[in-house]
Amino acid sequence: MASVTLEKVNKRFGSTRVIEDVSLDISDGEFVVFVGPSGCGKSTLLRLIAGLESITHGDLMIDDTRVNNMTPPERGIGMVFQSYALYPHMSVYDNIAFGLKLAKSDRQTVDERVRQTAKILQLDGLLDRLPKALSGGQRQRVAIGRAMAREPRILLFDEPLSNLDAALRVQTRNEIAHLHERLGATMIYVTHDQVEAMTLADRIVVLNEGHVEQTGSPRELYERPGSRFVAGFIGSPKMNFLTVKARREGGAGCRISVPGMGEHVLSRQLNSDSEGGAVTLGVRPEHLKPVAATGAVGFNILNVEYLGSEAYLYLETPDGEPLVCRTEAPSAFARGERVTLDFAPHQAHLFDHEGRALPPVDASEARVSATMS
């Protein structure tokens, strides 16, 4: 088990910077998920930690030892690949044993480790099979088994669930969570799926265009996104964004006027840039409360999606910006009806024109509102 520290890590391919000044502390036993859209550098970052790519500059430490120059086995990492990359010509047993044999473990140790690993992953009955005779989920488990057989200090996962169907994905997700609990190993997991990130992570690292956008627990990211990018990436359906005018209100907070939703006072500090100018209001679909409208006020419902446990209303602002609203199912509204929307001020987020979240007026107040929700 080990801690991982990245200090100003950079990676370039030719002249393109793929990773820019990433600093990160991952403590022993932590489950950290790198998440971001494709091309954000999350896989490259994982491969830098694995030792499959070279760090252009910056330091990578594992347990306070600089490992930039070490091979993957010297670093003590195990890795689960997206395509599993099982050795097609080797049995499950040999796949798991390959690394152990190369580490020059004696026969008996190899055998014990393989059987122990197989037991943990419920592969006992499959040891003589070839990968092609396994189901997707079983292959996935063999890949994990191969990665953990050498008892690495750190386990790396590169989008390991993307080749599984939806049902199996949920099941395997649970198994990985369980495995983390059981092994207590440091795990770093890459995914583009924010649901996977939310459900698995102790801590999520959101990456965008090669830099760390925000780091925090799933709840922190959901409730206090540091930027419009994070706010939009975490949560499904996506947070609604509306351009609004804001001005300072007394000593604390600001007053915004939202087209079609009236005026609201939010306890957010405007900075000099956004004073009197346009800011972005962010409200999650689940925080918008629709109320039947009378007359011509409010928003037109373009579509209603019924999902069984919930329903989504698709609306449009007078400016033509799309809005999504999440309600209980079945919805009390139908297509073509008009609704007015309301939201609780503490559940609203404000972003300046560069996409940075505007801070709460008072930090303690913000924390109170966070625990209330």
């Binding site: 950079n10 370039r12 391919f13 030719g14 030792g51 499959l52 790519e53 070279s54 760090i55 252009t56 500059h57 910056g58 330091d59 930039n68 120059n69 070490m70 091979t71 993957p72 010297e74």
Partner: protein, 336 residues
């Protein structure tokens, strides 16, 4: 081919471990590095793994080629390779009461002409026949696998054997070809295919076409099988005649593959040796550059003179190759 090689390099770059193949040091940073340990280990291993092959190629190709170049400037003979004296370009051309040397030898020029003639005719026939065979093999019919295997037989038969078989079939007195032609009344006296100077080149071409067409057909067939079927369906829906479809759709699409096959065949044809040696030996009417060079080298034991002929042949083939590579790169570069 080589052009593709260098074209695809940057894109695959990113996926290789330590992919940034550059040893260009990055400008800043206290911990500037050239790649992971894994990567440096791999580059070292790559050179190590290449060494046996490179040594092999140096011993059988690089060094002998240099020696051939050198011999061409000497009076070396087969019995005294070591005692060769440098004589400059005398093997190529020298004035000594009249012009001497290869470039003044009518037989050399005839062999150059024969080689080009042979190459042009046989490769053209192979291209046309190859496309026809490929089209037939591409059709769906019962027994296609068997027919394809049958088509491969001429390619698999050793050249010497096919030359012997054809020599027998073309035999002037007892050959089956003359027998057939007499039988249907196309000729009234047996032709001496391999001995008659006006016929022997055609005999050689016949054998080469028979033997090499399968190769062309296979490459074209591979291209045919990669063609999208929807544009054919579209053509059929539009009611375009099959002949038009062939010239407007199929032929342009298989042209790249056909060109590759043609260049491979042309390079083979320019250095043709065995089929001619076996069929017509050293006869002047079918003498090619390879035959000429070998005759000088081995039979006349004149290594200097023969090496000069070999060198000229090498230059001609190198020229064709370079032109082809240049055109290939040009075409690829324009397409991107």
């Amino acid at each position: 081919m080589a052009a593709q090689e260098s074209n695809d390099a940057p894109s695959e770059n990113a996926r290789y471990p330590g992919g940034n193949g550059s040893s260009r040091p990055s400008a800043e940073g206290p911990h500037r590095e050239r790649g992971t340990r894994v990567r440096r280990q791999r580059v070292r291993a790559a050179w190590l793994f290449l060494t046996p092959m490179l040594i092999g190629l140096a011993v059988v190709a690089g060094w002998p080629l240099m020696r051939t170049f050198w011999f061409s400037l000497t009076d070396a003979s087969l019995s005294s390779l070591g005692g060769a004296q440098f004589i400059g370009f005398e093997n190529y051309l020298v004035f000594d009461n009249g012009w001497y040397g290869i470039l003044a030898d009518p037989l050399w020029w005839q062999s150059v002409w024969n080689t080009l003639y042979f190459t042009l005719i046989s490769v053209s026939l192979e291209a046309v026949l190859g496309v026809i065979v490929a089209m037939v093999l591409n059709a769906r019919f019962r027994g296609r696998t068997l027919v394809r295997a049958a088509m491969l037989i001429p390619w698999a038969i050793p050249t010497v054997v096919s030359a012997k078989i054809w020599a027998w079939m073309l035999n002037d007195q007892f050959g089956i070809i003359n027998h057939m032609l007499l039988g249907v009344g196309l000729i009234d006296t047996p032709l001496s295919w391999t001995a008659d100077a006006s016929l022997s080149m055609w005999a050689v071409i016949m054998v080469d076409v028979w033997k090499a067409t399968p190769f062309v057909a296979l490459l074209v067939l591979a291209a045919l099988q990669m063609l999208p079927s929807d544009c054919y369906e579209a053509a059929r829906v539009d009611g375009i005649s099959p002949v038009k479809v062939f010239f407007r759709v199929t032929l342009p699409l298989i042209t790249p593959a056909l060109l590759v096959a043609v260049i491979f065949r042309a390079l083979d044809a320019l250095r043709v040796f065995d089929v001619i040696y076996v069929l017509t030996s050293n006869a002047a009417s079918t003498m090619t550059m390879s035959i000429y060079a070998r005759q000088q080298l081995v039979e006349f034991q004149d290594v200097g003179y023969g090496s000069a002929a070999s060198t000229l042949l090498f230059m001609i083939i190198a020229l064709v190759t370079v032109v082809y590579l240049y055109l290939g790169r040009h075409r690829l570069g324009g397409g991107k």
